[in-house]
Amino acid sequence: MSDERPISETEKGLALRTAEELRTAALSAAESVPVSLHPPTLFDVQEMELNFGPQHPSTHGVLRLVVRVDGEKIIETKPDIGYLHRGTEKLFETETYPMGIPHTDRLDYVAAATNNHAYCLTVEKLLGVEIPRRAQLVRVILDELQRLSSHLVWLGTSGIDLGAVTPFWYAFREREQILDFFEEYCGARLTLNCMRIGGLPFDLTAGWIERLTEFIDDLPSRIDDYEQLLTENRIWKKRTVDVGVISGEECIEWGVTGPVLRASGVEWDLRRAQPYECYDELDFAIPTRVNGDTYDRYVVRVQEMRQSARIIKQCLDLLEPGEVRGKVPRVIKPLAEEVYASIESPKGELGFYCVSNGTNRPYRMHVRPPSFINLQALPRLAKGHLVSDLVALIGTIDIVLGEVDR
């Protein structure tokens, strides 16, 4: 805990430096990682090409990695993606604006609410509409619940990747409860379709707030349980500390966002940097760590879960009766303009770039998926580690292939 000190502006790696310096720094950092972080073996083993996935239990979907290994040491990793490509961006173009929302559920399918939110926010920005305050607060609550559930899935699965099977069950126990809240609110557990352009489809049901308050009050003790299983565990530390170290500057150069960036010491969170909805009124901390290894990413995510619980509590206190759906025309025909809006999804910056041509369908709707961009850094992270670490690293950047392949 001693290294959780406040980070100054310069340490954030945000000091002005030239592009050339940054790029060379990032590239040389990537180069300077020795091919082997481990001492050479006695025998000169021939290289072998290992096909990792797409049907591999810890690639979190259908990621395929072509890994060149020397014994177990990774020399090169080549991600091969696209097994789950469904042409979502093409689908958006053929449908009216409201009809696009269910498709966003299927991008990052463990965090559907944040996808809905980013999509609606983009279209609202294009239309220039404000949504009612109650809708804003409920959206924030849904976002943070979704962040909790996404991080819980991450915690469980990355635990299993490293051989700790039990945290998975505990994490999923809590996640099921969160999904129950979603089910009660919008009728679905996973593919929520829980936001509409201009607000929300429904108001909260009676008793939802009380039950959620009870759950959120109980949550920190549950998180303590996971932490007791993992945080201090020597095997967990051995598997994660100094595995896949990446600096904040490198993260920025690779376009990596989200908890990975924050674990590398850059205190950048869109909820704070460019507050949307009512995040600017809320009091929450942005957990950061400085080492940028797998363990720090774990700590940052666990701390983020605690902060999410805090945000939800504040929102529940602020909640007042009122409208949940703003004044939006039934047929949405924005100006022939273009707009980009992004939110902090559990994985990083999730953005939608929408080009309208004045009709009721988007002319072009592009998704800026955090998983896709973050996955780019995997070969850099995996270089020089062992096959076992590759599993930890895939887990730690927290990809969802539905979002990578779209």
Binding site: H85, E253, E338, Y340
Partner: protein
């Protein structure tokens, strides 16, 4: 973007803004905007745009601002230099995204769209360039490592070549796929690559027989 409504210069249009290359870019030349409606304004005098113009006098084609987002249309040949300028001089260090828009009937046909983010300004800039079907765009993956996959995706989906890209292969579709799915002339229901057999089209237990002229080898 960093400036809010009041500090914006809506009609400080000093430079000769050439006509927008894109139908969306610039928007129709409206009169002073009505109070409530959000309209695009010309942003040629925006400091970032002015900075680009100062560095590369022939690069900026047009600039506009909509919903507090600055869009600069630059010449295709200059895009890598502009990106480097933005990163070096303006501190846009984080390349958010690279994508493209297909304006089917326009010449040149495509817009390649870049988003950059500056941590110190806490703001984004959108840079666009118009690209014809046969043109090559200078790759910015030399400037931003992050643009590597995004450019590959743009090549995969639109067939826009990026000159100087280290590894310009298809990324979401498979190698050897024929066609560029996000072009407007690519059918929504896809093309028959022979890779899948749909039950609606083939009888139960059927599928193309070996001597069927429609049968194709899975690529």
């Amino acid at each position: 973007m960093a400036d809010d409504e009041t500090t914006r210069r809506p009609d400080a249009d000093a430079g000769a803004a050439p006509p927008a290359a894109a139908p969306a870019a610039g928007g129709p030349a409206h009169k002073p905007p009505p109070p409530k409606k959000v309209e695009a304004t010309d942003a040629s005098a925006h400091p970032w745009v002015a900075g680009i113009r100062a560095a590369f006098p022939d690069a900026v084609v047009s600039a506009k601002e909509f919903a507090k987002q600055v869009t600069v249309v630059v010449a295709r040949e200059r895009i890598a230099e502009v990106a480097r300028h933005l990163k070096d001089r303006e501190d846009f260090r984080y390349c958010v995204d690279v994508t493209a828009v297909d304006w089917r009937d326009r010449q040149p046909r495509f817009d390649v769209v870049y988003h950059f983010y500056s941590f110190s300004k806490n703001d984004r800039i959108r840079v666009k360039c118009a690209v014809g079907e046969a043109d090559e765009v200078p790759s910015i993956s030399e400037v931003f490592l992050a643009a590597n996959w995004s450019e590959r995706e743009t090549w995969d989906m639109f067939g826009i070549r990026f000159a100087g890209h280290p590894d310009l292969r298809r990324i979401l579709t498979w190698d050897g796929f024929n066609g560029f799915p996000l072009r407007k002339d690519f059918p929504l229901e896809g093309i028959d690559t022979g890779a899948a057999v749909y039950p609606e089209e083939w009888p139960e237990g059927g599928g193309p027989s070996p001597d069927d002229p429609n049968a194709k080898v899975v690529s």
